[in-house]
Each structure stands twice: as C-alpha cells, then as structure tokens.
C-alpha cells in the first residue's frame, strides 16, 4: 500500500516564499577594533502593497492589507478601517466597537504567546528552536500551544476565518456573533487567565542582561483604556498628537545602508514601538490582575530593558484575556452589524496597536472612494533605527566572540522587537568583515 519515501536525500533550498513573513540582513565592518554597521535592512512587504492599493476601492483596503502579515492581519484591518472611517465621519460605538477590541485581544494572545514561547524563549534557554526546547519543556510548550490557540479561536469566531479574517469591514462587520457563541469561549478564557499569569511568572525568572536604554517610547494612548484602536500618539519625550499628525512628527527616510525606509522622530531620531512602549506609557490602564502579575514579576511601572519585553508580552496577554472576558460579559448583540455612511473624498489616518507596536495607515480617496494614495508604516520599520542602535551596542560589547555566538546574540537582540522577520530560526544574514 505504501510507496517508499525516497526524496529524503534531495537538496532543498529555502527561498523567500518559504518564510513569507520577511527576512533581514546585516553587514558589519570592523577596523582597528571599531565597529561600523555597513548595511542593515529588513525585507518589507508593505511597500509593495502601497502601490498595489492605488486605484482600488476603499473597501478593498482591509482585505488586501490583512494579507500583508499572517501573524497580525487584524492590526492591518483595524488601521485601515479606522483610517477610512475617519474620512467618512463614521464612529464605532457600543457593541461594534467592543467587538473590534475583542478581536484585537485574540490577535495579541495568539501573537504574544507565539513569540514569547516559540521564538523568544528558546533564545533565553539556549535552544536552537522551539522544537529542540519542546522535548525538555513539554508541559510549558503544551500549555503555551493551548493558550495561543485560544487566541486563534477568538479571531476565528469574531473574524470569520483564522489566517486572513474576512468579517471586518468599513462601518463595522459583515456579521456579528451571538452572545451565546461568545460565552462558549468563557471556560477556555478562564483557564487562559491562569495560564497567562503562569507565563508571566515563568518568564520573569529568566536571566536578563542588565541593560536599560534611554528609548523614546511611542504608543497610541487612550484616556481610559489600554490602547488598541483609538487614541493619540504619545511619547515619553513630549509627543502628544492625533494620529492625523503622524507625518508632522515622524518622517520616513532612506538610509544609504538600508534597502528599506526607516522612520524617525523628525526632531530627534530613533524611537521604539511595541509592548515595552505601550506598557511604560499606559501601565495605569492595565487590568488589575495584569498589574498584579507585573508587580509580582518585579516589573516597575515602566520597563526600559528590551530583553524583558518577553515578560511584558506575557503581562499584556493577561490583560488581553481579562479584557476579552470583560467584553464578552458586557456584550449585547447589536441589531445591525454595521452602520451606514456616505462615501466621500478626503484623507484619513488610522493608528492602532499591532502586537509588535503601532501600525499607521494613511489613505487619500477620490469622491467615488477610489484610493489615490496609500501609506503604511509597519511597527518593524518604525523601530528599525532603535533596533540598529541595539545591534551596535551588542557588536561593541561582543565583537570578539566567534561568528556563530555573535550571530546568536544579535538575533536575540532583534527578537526583542518581535519583528516580522523573527519567525525563521536564523532570520538574520550576518556578514562580518574583520579586516
């Protein structure tokens, strides 16, 4: 019945499609003991999508941009629908707004647990990959897989489909879940709350390099809520503007040594988006159990050690589970899945918090709702200069290590940011010219 399996000796090449989320490269030159980064780039699919969006209708943007990233499709949908809604004067309220927070909770749980346990934890514990780690830490990996799947389940139920959810649209949703459907998730979420607290405790016990950096942290800030979809752009160094002023405060620049655009604060330079930034700017708005878990883990109200982002991701997972339970508790199925609006010309902005940091979209529409111009600034590009600063510090400290050990240190430093490229085991092509 079975045929012999013979392809096992065949050479298999791994190309870009196999690791479709992205790739990075780093070229370093060392002269007289001084380190210089000659080239640093991260492959960025969004640039292609900006061109692809021109000439499409406004309603295509959430579906098209959701395909940019398999890990955070919700973030792309959220930033795009909010940008479009700002043009048409649509405001999400009540249950429609709450469902948008709920689906984001699912994406945070899924993405944070994936990154913390399957990508970042092996770096800390000295394993080549999560598979190697799984044999020695079965219970932890099994628990993490179950927790991650509970995040997927929320996205599936509210979003309609797991990988590229199709239920979100400008003005609301195509279809809304019933209260009973949401309530069926409650027992799993109650388990998840304890599992997420366990995750905080476990990661807090890891050995962390004793480094703190004076980052400029930027995140979306809302007066009452830990940020997902709505709020101003705020930093710890004085930025406080509406999302519509993104281009006044930040700029995207071409750097000769990078093949991608890098974002910077116009007046100052590098900035940092992501869990540490959100946490440090919004600690008071975390739910009580998340705050208590953070305190028990020895985190203060701010965190400037980039390696501790693994703990902060787990604290945010506690918050996302608590928030999901709260949203399900207050949910009342709305009479209509979407609000009506009139299409008009204009420019709109959306800044929401993807798991890996603030994601900004800008669209300009003609009076029939066709896209004239699109701008997408993903979190990885916004943090890129900050990542480069961190890499320079690692290089200065560890340049005498053998190449393979140095590569591991560099990848660990990049992985702190959970960039889109971090999914591959060895995602960073490092070339060191030691003269």
């Amino acid at each position: 019945m079975s045929t012999p399996s013979k392809p096992e000796t065949r050479a298999i090449s791994v190309d870009y499609l196999a690791r479709v989320e992205g790739e990075g490269n780093l070229k370093v030159r060392v002269r007289d003991g001084k380190v210089e980064i000659a080239e640093f780039g991260i492959f960025e699919p969004p640039r292609f999508y900006e061109a692809f969006l021109r000439g499409r209708r406004f309603g295509d943007a959430p579906d098209i941009t959701a395909r940019i990233c398999g890990i955070c499709p919700i973030a792309y949908q959220m930033s795009s629908v909010h940008a479009m809604e700002s043009i048409f004067g649509v405001k999400m309220e009540g249950a429609l707004r709450e469902l948008r927070r709920l689906i984001y909770c699912g994406e945070w749980i899924e993405s944070h647990v994936l990154h913390a346990f399957l990508l970042h934890l092996p770096d800390f514990l000295g394993y080549q990959s999560a598979i190697h780690m799984a044999a020695d830490h079965r219970e932890a990996v099994e628990k993490a897989l179950r927790l991650k799947k509970i995040g997927n389940d929320i996205v599936n139920l509210v979003g309609g489909r797991e990988i590229h959810p199709i239920n979100v649209k400008v003005g609301g949703w195509y279809k809304v879940p019933t209260k009973r459907q949401l309530e069926e998730m409650v027992p799993n979420l109650e388990w998840a709350l304890e599992a997420a607290e366990w995750a905080v405790q476990l990661t807090a016990g890891l050995p962390f390099p004793d480094v703190e950096q004076d980052y400029e942290y930027v995140s979306v800030c809302h007066p009452d809520e830990y940020p997902f979809n709505e709020g101003r752009l705020v930093s710890n160094k004085g930025i406080d503007v509406p999302a519509s002023e993104w281009n006044q405060v930040f700029e995207e620049v071409h750097v000769a040594r990078s093949n991608a655009l890098q974002s910077k604060v116009r007046e100052r330079g590098s900035y940092h988006v992501g869990p540490n930034a959100r946490y440090s700017l919004n600690f008071e708005k975390l739910h009580p159990r998340a705050q208590r878990a953070a305190a028990a883990a020895g985190l203060g109200k701010t965190c400037f050690n980039p390696f501790k982002s693994i703990v902060v991701r787990c604290v945010e997972t506690v918050h996302a589970v608590e928030e999901a339970l709260r949203l399900i508790d207050v949910y009342r199925q709305p009479p209509r899945p979407a609000v009506s609006f009139t299409v008009k010309a204009g420019e709109g902005h959306g800044a929401t918090e993807a798991p890996r940091g603030m994601l900004y979209h800008r669209y300009r529409l003609d009076d029939e709702g066709y896209i004239l111009d699109a701008q997408i600034c993903p979190p990885t590009a916004q943090s890129q200069m900050s990542i480069e600063d961190d890499l320079r510090r690692v290089l200065e400290q560890y340049i005498d290590l053998p190449d393979d050990e140095l590569q591991w240190k560099l990848e660990h430093a990049v992985r702190n940011y959970d960039p889109c490229i971090s999914c591959a085991t060895h995602f960073l092509k490092v070339e060191i010219d030691r003269g």
Partner: protein
C-alpha cells in the same frame, strides 16, 4: 475494529498553490471510507494540527511544499518514526509551517501512531489567485495516492 483515520489538508485557498491541501481534500469528499475524517486547516498552528488528529491512529497530512523541484511534483514522507528531512519547508503564509507542527508534536510525544505527509510542490503563491495549472493538474494523482493510503480503513 479498525482505528480512526484522519486526512488533514493544510493551506490558504487565497494564496495560489498554498491552497492545494484543501483542494485535494475536496476531491476526496465522498470517496473515502466512512471511518476516514477529512479536516481542512487554513494554517499550520501546532495545537490546531494536534487537535485535528486527536484520537486517530493513522493520519495523512497534505500541504504545499517549496523545495525547488518542478511545480506539481508530489513527495511522500513517512513521518511516523523518523523526523521530516531537515530543511523541508511546507509552504505557509503563516508563521509556522506544518513541518514545525509535526516535529513539535513529535517532541511532545503527541504524534499519531502512523503519520504520512504528502507535499505537493507549489509554483506560485500569489495573493487572491487559485492553483497554478501545474499544481491543478497534480490534483487527481495526489487524491489517488491518498485514497490508496486510507484504503481499507
């Protein structure tokens, strides 16, 4: 009494040849013995895959593959006792490929008794497109091979 058999098709139908897994399953619908359960998964989430084969003694998993051979080429791997070849990539638009899920399950002691993986080499993974002609042409043979695997279940 025979053991439960599951055939899992992994893939995203919106990404060209990545959709080959679910397409093969569509061809098996109505043709497989009663005891065989067909499961479509849009992505290779390890817990999703482990749940899908829970309780099954024999599993066949079919997915798109990216190895550099001619699109439409069908490869068979018996993963029951030996790890999938190092470097094997089952195409995924998600962060983890099915090969990771399989090896993670092995490390966790959660593999079914018998697991056979079919990879159909993909050529194009364009957003919003269906299967490329070479991969579509491979569907009947892929379905036939899997039917042979589950015959007598």
């Amino acid at each position: 009494m025979g053991e439960a058999v599951v055939v899992i098709g992994v893939g995203n139908p919106d990404r060209g040849d990545d959709g080959v897994g679910p397409e093969v399953l569509a061809r098996l619908e109505g043709c497989v013995p009663d005891r065989v359960r067909l499961v479509r998964l849009a992505g290779a989430d390890p817990a999703g895959i482990i749940d899908a084969w829970e309780g099954a003694g024999r599993v066949v998993l079919v997915d798109a593959m990216v190895s550099g051979v001619a699109p439409g080429t069908i490869s068979r791997f018996d993963a029951s006792d030996t790890p999938l070849p190092a470097g094997l990539r089952l195409a995924s638009t998600h962060v983890l490929g099915a090969e990771t899920a399989v090896e993670m399950a092995r490390a966790l002691g959660r593999l079914p008794g018998r697991l056979v993986v079919y990879g159909v080499e993909g050529g194009a993974f364009t957003v919003g497109e269906g299967l490329s002609p070479a991969v579509a042409a491979a569907l009947p043979l892929a379905a036939e091979r899997i039917l042979e695997e589950v015959a007598g279940a």
